[in-house]
Amino acid sequence: MESGNNVNTSAMVSRNNGKTGTVVRHSLTHLFIIALGIIMIYPIIWMIVSSFKPNNMIFSDPGLIPKTLTIENYISGWRGYAGTTFGTFFTNSLIMCAVAVVGNVISCSMAAYAFARLKFAGRTFWFAVMMITLMLPSQVTLVPRYILFNTFGWVGSYLPILVPKFLATDAFFVFLLVQFMRGLPKEIEEAAIIDGCSKVGVYLRIVLPLATPALVTTALFTFLWTWDDFFNQLLYLTTPASFTVSRALRTFVGDAGAVSNWGGALAMATLSVVPAFILFFSLQKYFVQGIATTGIKG
């Protein structure tokens, strides 16, 4: 009996040691990940916290715990400049991104459907061509596009930014949707065709609804990237009344010599990343899926 107990005890002890080891390791890992994570998002937390500090305390008292809280920065920053408030800028950004999303979703899904399901001459060739455009640096087409849009008289409007969205120029999303559509079971579509459904019908009633997850991912990233697309906005938006949030932040902050309202700048900067946050936290899984499929680096 005693030996039995001993055996049991030692067996229990050795099993416990293993578990303790793992627990310790896991705890340390957790700790490390958390610590590193905090360092990673520290700048962002600092930005958010500072936007609630009075202007003169932001840099004289740079800790994370504010001594006083105020929303004066949001009020003063919101006024924007040139008599145009950030209300206008946000509206401009939202509308522009929404239209871009619609354009991209429609055109990229159409192109993807063609590549994935429709048979036509040279399909492999054109698909390869499209994939090459994925690797093309945008700078190569930059100057001529600018000249082209200028000839059309579109510089100064949103058209140079939005029209390409309706023409499926974002190969990322075409690729994403193609991969997704290829993975859909063909039987449903074939059955529909046998039943007399046209290609368009199949596209609208079967493929699109089934491809919703990929479409959501497309919409998501289109919105985000259009929101953050500083360069094109810098190039094509010329009057402050038409500026988007990203563009407005640039003038708002401008040269070091033109900023005196850092609190306002930080407040507006914080607000400008709110849409990204909201989208991300509500639609996390689509983000991951999108990244995993196409390596989007954001």
């Binding site: 890992t29 100057v143 499926a168 070091a256 990343v273 995993a292």
Partner: protein, 304 residues
């Protein structure tokens, strides 16, 4: 046809501009004086690389004397440094943290979200502005360092030695998306492999080198190419950190920034077009090299 929008877009917005920009690269097109455009053959290209031949000026076919761009090489060196330092660092961090998270931990989705946030926001101008402020001489970073006990701190953003470093830090900070991809890839490696290797007496390092890396190699390749291409095209951050210019002593004169200044601040769009084509060639070449070399280190099957 369903393909119509894409085809139209492709032809008008990709093919035609590419051809046009190639054409422009052989001229001295000035956006504000379009009527005085002249063909200068390889003039723009010589303008870029003339210093390699020891030239500082040369005569174009039109007879006008053209000056070799003294900052072109600088922009190349800045960009190359940026790419070849930041991309490996980024991938190493991404892989390391992904491996850390690959253990059976709780709350991985939450951590994943936290680490992705910098990537989510990092491309925005708001963060670039914030970054510039943080790394100024009187910025937060120096406050923290001073509190730890460092003295005589430089202004990182305004110092020609360190400004590029802050930008490298900014992009490495955004390793989140690479990490997520690595995580997905790691999850696909069956645990049995590691168990079998342990039984065979292999230690962690050997397991890493013999199992993890080879099986992950397609993913590594993928991340490497994507990040490299992206890094070459960095603009917004460089633009903001340098205040619309190249920074002190042009230390942050990224290639795309230089292109922008030449084309839109100095109106030399012929030259900017030439720069774009050279960038395309550089990226194409490096991508091809990476793919070529991948035959040696990437394995696509299990059990090779």
């Amino acid at each position: 046809m369903f393909l119509a929008p894409w085809l139209v877009g492709f032809l008008i917005l990709t093919v035609y501009p590419m051809g046009h920009s190639l054409l422009l690269s052989f001229t001295d097109y000035d956006f504000t004086k379009p009527d005085s455009t002249q063909w200068i053959g390889l003039g723009n290209y010589l303008k870029m690389f003339g210093s390699l031949f020891g030239l500082s000026e040369f005569t174009a076919p039109t007879g006008e004397v053209m000056r070799v761009d003294p900052y072109y090489m600088k922009s190349l060196s800045v960009t190359f440094t940026y790419v070849f330092v930041s991309v490996p660092l980024k991938l190493i961090f991404a892989l390391a943290v992904a491996m850390l998270m690959n253990q059976k931990l709780r709350g991985v989705p939450f951590y994943r979200a936290v680490y992705y946030i910098p990537t989510l926001l990092g491309g925005s101008i708001a963060i670039a502005v914030l970054w510039r402020k943080l790394f100024e001489r009187d910025g937060l970073v120096n406050d923290v360092l001073a509190a730890i006990g460092f003295t005589d701190l430089p202004g990182w953003i305004t110092s020609p030695d360190y400004a590029l470093g802050t930008l490298i830090l900014l992009t490495v900070w955004q390793f989140g998306s690479s990490m997520i991809i690595f995580l997905a890839g790691l999850k696909q490696i069956p645990q049995e492999f590691y168990d079998a290797a342990s039984v065979d007496g292999a230690n962690k390092v050997q397991q890493f080198l013999r199992i993890t890396i080879p099986l992950l190699s397609p993913v590594i390749l993928f991340n490497l190419v994507i990040q490299m291409i992206g890094a070459f095209q960095t603009f917004t951050q460089a633009y903001i950190i340098g205040g619309g210019r190249g920074g002190v002593l042009n230390s942050t004169l990224f290639y795309t920034l230089h292109m922008y200044i030449q084309g839109w601040a100095y109106h030399e769009m012929g030259y900017a077009s030439a720069m774009a084509w050279v960038l395309l060639l550089i990226i194409g070449l490096l991508t091809a090299i990476v793919f070529r070399s991948s035959k040696m280190w990437v394995s696509y099957g299990v059990g090779e």
